[in-house]
Symmetry: C2
Subunit: 153 residues, 2 copies
């Protein structure tokens, strides 16, 4: 067990979850800034060589509840059926950890200018990792999400 500590905070155009594009075909193209705390600046060394970053962050405004039984089912905006939280990106999860892949546009000191934020303004950042490789799309199966997309067509 460990206690999370922010390494920085997200600057995003979204101040309310209702503003964040959600559901089938939602595009995450908003620009934002990952503002890293000055004491962690050496950890950014050479990060500017990567085009994409994986940002791990905290759902700090999701309700803190002990999730058990039916609470572990989520109703994602992309479907009218419920699915297990681990098969969704729902904010209500046993550990309030979010994950977003962003494109790194520019680094200015402790400010990482990125495209593709879907977090609320002020969201605590827990970690940043370089995006190294992709699963080829022809090898991906996307379960209920693909089925929901097919039903909508």
């Amino acid at each position: 067990m460990f206690t999370s500590q922010p390494i920085g905070f997200v600057r995003s155009p979204y101040t309310d979850t209702g503003q964040i594009p959600k559901g089938l075909g939602a595009k995450h193209e908003a620009d934002g800034v990952l503002k890293i705390l000055p004491e962690f600046e050496p950890g950014l060394t050479d990060i500017e060589g990567f085009s994409h970053l994986i940002v791990i962050w905290e759902f700090d405004r999701a309700p803190r509840e002990e999730l058990r039984g039916k609470d572990l089912l989520a109703s994602p905006p992309s479907d009218n059926r419920q699915h297990g939280v681990f098969a969704t990106r729902s904010p209500r999860r046993p550990n309030p950890i979010g994950l977003t892949t962003v494109e790194l546009l520019a680094r200015e000191g402790i400010d990482l200018h990125v495209r593709g934020v879907n977090m609320l303004d002020g969201t605590p950042i827990l970690d940043i990792k370089p995006y190294l490789s992709s699963i080829p799309s022809e090898k991906l199966r996307r379960g209920w999400l693909a089925e929901a997309e097919a039903r909508q067509k």
Copy 2:
């Protein structure tokens, strides 16, 4: 801030970090099992429809230190130069969070049989998310890692 809680544990062939393939060209093809705790089983509903999962886990055997200044530089096994921890996958990070993409081979109740584990046996799992989409490889730049690969050729 939150305190992490395991949702399960990894069964892996690796009991020592020296056994885990590392460095340039390392392949992660080991089979393992994500053993989810029974109280979280409803959260797995419909997960079997996804071919790939993102596993978020805890570096529970990395030393716990306050990292500052030069401690935030890492010497990855794929290069003889140091880079900022946020530009590497080093286990020594401000929040001891690891991330691995695995292929889901089969689900048996609370056991997820997966390919591609690179965690130690007994590693606590914090979260599982469905892998939904990839950045096309032609759009990826991989900074120091690509340079280290080029130097080795």
